[in-house]
Subunit: 249 residues, 2 copies
DNA sequence: GGCTCCTTTCCGTTGAGCGGAAGAGGATTA
DNA sequence: TAATCCTCTTCCGCTCAACGGAAAGGAGCC
């Protein structure tokens, strides 16, 4: 068991997520799986430092200090900056929700998003993670991921909607097609009523991110969307190549 | 001395700032004032959890996990959202650098910024802190801060440029004027060649933030800028009042 | 090879962290 | 008013995890 103080402190921080932005001490202890007295001590220290803040009602939230640190993370700097104008362009011409994601471990991490007005149920948020096998950007990232990642990811194809692909063979076949055709699609595999298209963003010849779009229906406009996405992805890639030092593993 | 494990782990995180986004283990140990072996162990744990990431060259940077957590911090949600459109409007009509800041302890914390092309040396960044007595937004926030904050802040008027105000009496007089006239100005007090104007942003009748602008010269256009800022600040305040639950202490 | 600088591993000692338990505060119910 | 049920905070003696000096392992340079 991770019983080190550090891991416990981190477990406290890890108790927060998009659905739990504010937690009482007791909740925090429960979610971090710590004895109350221990949680109390850790939380106190985190609070004193500014990693946590208290709301008027006494609940804890992530503090400004963490927010500041987060801004220093390189997730954003290079890629987000480079992508920003292209995302805006894309949004301008398609008026659909567009987003940019990277692979983090076996999940997709959304690092930028522009939300459309259109009424499509969009589950992604900036900073949220989703499984790779049920999202457009995920399929792209998986298609170009190292072999061992793909193998591992195929072992956990959890069902989300009735349309989620849960057979490894079928997904593998799709990934082969993604590589061949240069784009991925989904049809209500993550949430009903939402389809998506995505293309890889390259820096040199490695795929560093995926650029995706969510729409209510694909059939009519697929070619148009794919080419718009590819143009944008190309532009982002060019910007990246042009900028000074970029650091992806 | 802060010798607790938690405080040491936090010291490691605290070693990062805008000027030190990437640090080697040795640097990290030096900056956090920890023995190398200790730093090594802590950094290892932080890295394993995702609080830190490694660059190709082995240096450490803030990891994605922290970035994600930062997005959950309430600093942004309410205020930033409410302010965003007004900042864009302001930028559109003035084409100057505009920014939004809150008070955090005895410093100003910039939470949003739109940078102009104009060649003015702007030192603020989103997430950075600056002293209150040498910035426009700082003077505003100080003018409306609780008495004890003002007393404490006046004890450390460190000189930054030749124009920085370092006499408590002079600053107090200015703060009185800020309250009377509803805006604050600076003239090269933070960096040479940069002047600023700022106004308070109110939520109900408490000042929750300050809205500021940086320009090369104020004399010509002061009234115009002040009224533009005040209109925007008002708008933000109204949006805040309208939105559901807002949590500032 | 010999040097310097950085990273990683080892391991015996010791004091910081642990957490059950008890107390304090507050809200709701009877 | 007292009883009940929360969650939060403090206490304190035991123990095991964290500590860090030292030494080994790399990597790069002259």
């Amino acid at each position: 068991m991770g019983a080190s103080v550090t891991s416990r402190a981190l477990a406290v921080l890890g108790a927060f997520d998009a659905e739990h932005r504010s937690l009482s001490l007791t909740d925090l202890a429960r979610r971090a799986d710590l004895p109350l007295a221990t949680a109390h001590r850790l939380v106190g220290e985190l609070h004193r430092w500014g990693a946590l803040a208290r709301e008027p009602n006494g609940d804890y939230v992530i503090g400004r200090r963490i927010w500041q640190l987060g801004l220093l993370a390189p997730v954003q700097s290079g890629l987000r900056q480079a992508a920003s104008p292209f995302l805006h362009d894309l949004y301008g011409t398609t008026l659909s929700t567009v987003h940019l994601a990277v692979r983090d471990g076996l999940e997709v991490l959304y690092i930028e998003r522009l939300a459309g007005h259109v009424s499509v149920p969009v589950v992604s948020r900036v900073g949220s993670r989703l499984p790779m096998h049920a999202t457009g950007v995920g399929k792209v990232l998986l298609a170009y991921a190292p072999e061992e990642v793909r193998v591992e990811a195929l072992r956990h194809l959890t069902r989300i909607t009735a349309y989620t692909i849960t057979q490894p063979a079928r997904l593998l076949e799709q990934l082969r097609r993604v590589r061949a055709e240069g784009y991925a699609t989904t049809g209500e595999e993550m949430s009903l009523g939402a389809c998506s298209v995505a293309v890889p963003v390259r820096h040199g010849d490695t795929v560093v991110a995926a650029l995706g779009m969510v729409v209510p229906d694909l059939r009519r406009q697929l070619p148009r969307l794919v080419s718009a996405l590819q143009v944008a992805a190309h532009g982002i890639g060019r910007t990246l190549a042009g900028s000074a030092s970029v650091q992806w593993k």
